[in-house]
Amino acid sequence: MTVPSPFAARALAERARYDAVLARALAHGADRDVLADAVREVAAATDPLATQLEADAFAATCDALVAAVARLAAARRWRAEGPERRAVLDVVPRLAPWLALAPAVTVAAVVDGARAVGGGPGSRGDVTAWAARVVDAAAVGAAGVPGAGPGPSPVDVVRGAVLVAAWRSGLVRYRDAALAAARSLPEPVARAALSLAPGGGGAGAADLGAVLERHAADPWWWPGRVYGDLPTVRLRGVAEPARVLGRFGGFRGFGGPWLSPALVVGADARHPALRWTLLSPAAGGTGADAATDEWTLVADAHGSLVARRPGAGDEVPPTVGAELPGGDGGPAAARDDVTDVSGSAVVDTPSGRVALLSRTGSYDVLLVRWAR
């Protein structure tokens, strides 16, 4: 007689409950074969956890995974290359320290996080880097999760770390929440989620609070971050070459947001060097009288998002410095490298002067920085 695997043993013990969960998924639209394969895959991925977790925690992990798989299959989100499937099969089994403390929350948070980073509503992040950061944060172990008493609960630690890792991996819309979470997390967990090496010298060894403080004020500064591999451009009125920090936007036909080159009209004064305002002709509009859509670029050292400003036209955010130092705002043939600037906005940051440039001959907008 063969001994059932740990997952199978749990499934047999809870046969009625698991049957009900799976039947519900089928009733809600899950494909029978997909669901069966998913459960088999989860069983194989989960079994190694049986030796790392207490019996109760392992049982709760199995329950949470079956519930997650049922939800994903019913919603047709259990796909071969899907981020959620990858999270369930590859990431969750490596989070034993968290599963020991909060199994259901860990499974749900990782699945939700994977969906957001892997292409949920809003910007897309780097799923591989995010998964590595989550695993690193969990590897800090129980030492990173305070017991009873003051400090964040295990639920807050797990969710906070997943959130911080998501922002650090590209989800710029979570920036404020992630900075707040990073401040409240135990330092080893926060450092792991942020990929900031503790101790040993180097930029990452700086006081975490100071790092977060400086980055909050200067979105393009990050310990150890150099932009040396990106090209430089020369701008009229600027003595030294300006370093390109990033290119954003693009032609819709190639996956970008715009049908016509956008025009930079300002920087949001409430979020300096982080949010920028642009205009682009609305779909179907041509000619001088065409309606324009207002767009917002949100970008920091870790990620970016270009999106239409909802309800644009009701209120224009306060903007600052819309001109390059030596320019007149019009087409700038005199500018050395970038010869077709159609609009620009300049903001001072502690690391230097940052400008966003739109050009008549490109669908991309350029973010550049030079020393003041």
Partner: protein, 535 residues
């Protein structure tokens, strides 16, 4: 079919970023990332943990019902985004207009019952058999947190033999034998009376006597049997009827009809969605048994929801337009001799057909006069329902205060059975307007739109002398010197005199004149007292 447990992500109605109450779309938080509720995280996980406002939860409930429960919704409650281009096409020989709304629009058959749930009003759902009237009502019961089985058990089915005891409960037989007085007779009350959602199916099949008993519960919130009184508390009522035009086994008592706040039509099934129906049957999916807990309102939330709706401001410009519209409906210049009695009500009470009286009045524009199309005016109850539902609509749409569009959206459903059309009046003879004889929703909306255009044409937003005079009165007369009183009296008399030769007695003029008479009386009485007291 999608996952039945899926609740639409917040925000279901993103607000323009310029609005104070709008969330910053570029700054998401922890709760946006972790949408999956987890029991382990605590009892408040999920929507409550996320701190979702109740209006967001209400919208999520709406979209869940539309997406998962009611197949083929009709988006007949249309809204236009400010400044947006409206797209429409005209189809068929009659050039039927099909609009593609630029703002989030809704299905009245789902939305009005949901607003009824929110304001704990009384909703009548009409339409042929098998169109989802009862299913929709049951869903509302489940949204209130009751198990489906309890909701079904609590539903009262109208039939010709339904007695008062069947409906409310019976006295205990033991007490009937032993009691020395009625007060000693205990009554076994039916459990449905205490529920926050009450459903009466086919109410037009209930005998007249039982209807009268039902009226007391519906209107006053208590039941009396054998001297025992049961307070039923606030509740949302859903009544269904196959035929609203007097069909059914028994004629519905007028007073009962008048207590109904809104009337909605169950729309016919769109056969393009037959596939969904087949899939649902094959999978044995019953939406009412799978309502996600995130959209269920417990008693405290239900109370808070109602309180939040009551707190939505009803701004003066919107109120003024409603006043203008309502004032057009009651006046009937030749129905009375004394000024105050020149109303349709005077004619109706006397048994005179208001249409005949209106026909005798040859001095008005019968096509332009909104009041000429109706046989009655609006009751206070109708106006109260209008205000409550307009507030609920504004709250549902996430507006800080009631907008004209909110009022316009609910108006036809609230006044559906409260405004009687004069089908013999001239506007209905117009060939283009003939469909309005049967389409009461469009007719009422057209009445309101016409009244709003007249309001704009008269420039009443810019100048409101009567409003100023009434505001002065409302501010109080305490300490007002005689000279000021005389000045104000003169202003009233001068204003009325200015209307003598140049103004027809339209509804708003009639009501303004009566309001001025009221103000004049207040000042006259005060002046008399002032002179008597020698102040």
């Amino acid at each position: 079919m999608t996952d039945l447990e899926h609740v639409s992500s917040a925000p279901t109605r993103p607000q323009p970023s310029g609005r104070a109450e709008a969330r910053d779309p570029f700054a998401l938080g922890v709760d946006d990332l972790f949408g999956t509720p987890v029991a382990e995280a605590g009892p408040d996980d999920g929507a409550a943990r996320a701190g979702l406002p109740l209006d967001e939860k209400l919208r999520q409930a709406y979209f869940w019902v539309v997406n998962h429960a009611i197949i083929s919704p009709h988006y007949d409650v249309e809204f236009a985004a400010p400044g947006a281009r409206e797209t429409s096409v005209r189809l068929g020989d009659s050039k039927a207009l099909l609009s593609l709304p630029s703002d989030q629009s809704y299905s009245s058959f789902v939305l009005l019952p949901l607003l009824t749930f929110a304001v704990r009003g009384r909703c009548l759902m009409i339409g042929g058999p098998g169109r989802g009237k009862t299913a929709s009502a049951v869903l509302m019961g489940v949204l209130a947190g009751y198990p489906v089985r309890d909701v079904r058990r609590a539903m009262q089915h109208g039939h010709p033999q339904l007695t008062v005891s069947d409906l409310f409960g019976t006295p205990l037989p033991k007490d009937l034998v032993q009691a020395d007085s009625l007060a000693d007779v205990d009554v076994a009350w039916r459990s449905w009376l205490g529920m926050r959602v009450k459903i009466v199916d086919e109410y037009n099949r209930i005998p007249t006597r039982t209807q009268s008993a039902l009226l007391t519960v519906l209107a006053d919130g208590y039941v009396e049997v054998y001297d025992q009184v049961y307070e039923t508390g606030d509740a949302a009522w859903y009544l269904t009827a196959n035929d609203d035009a007097g069909g059914g086994t028994y004629q519905v008592v007028d007073a009962l009809r008048d207590r109904i706040d809104v009337v909605v039509h169950a729309m016919p099934f769109n056969n393009r969605f037959l596939g969904d129906l087949v899939a649902r049957a094959e999978r044995r999916v019953r939406p009412e048994e799978n309502v996600p807990p995130e959209i269920v309102f417990d008693a405290a939330e239900h109370d808070a929801l109602h309180a939040a709706i009551l707190a939505v401001p009803f701004p003066d410009p919107v109120r003024r337009r409603l006043e203008f519209f309502a004032s057009q409906l009651e006046v009937l210049e030749r129905a009375g001799w004394q000024f105050e009695y020149r109303t349709k009500d005077t004619a109706r009470v006397a048994g005179v057909d208001p249409h005949l009286v209106a026909t005798a009045d040859t001095g008005r524009d019968r096509l332009g006069d909104v009041g000429a199309q109706t046989l009655n005016g609006l009751s206070v109850r109708a106006l109260q329902s209008l205000v409550a539902y307009a507030k609920a609509m504004a709250y549902f749409r996430g507006n800080a205060e009631v907008e004209l569009a909110d009022l316009r959206a609910v108006l036809p459903f609230v006044l559906h059975d409260k405004l009687l059309p004069d089908l013999r009046s001239a506007p209905f003879d117009d060939r283009d307007r003939e469909p309005l004889r049967s389409d009461r929703v469009s007719w009422i909306r057209d009445l309101f739109d016409t009244a709003c255009r007249q309001y704009d044409a008269a420039g009443l937003d810019d100048r409101d002398d009567v409003g100023e005079i009434l505001a002065q009165v409302a501010a109080g007369l305490e300490g007002l010197p005689e000279a000021d009183v005389l000045r104000r009296l003169a202003r009233i008399e001068k204003l009325l005199a200015s209307w003598q030769d140049h103004t027809k007695l339209h509804g708003h003029v009639y009501e303004d004149a009566l309001a001025l008479k009221y103000a004049h009386q207040r000042y006259t009485n005060y002046l008399t007292w002032l002179r008597w007291s020698g102040t």
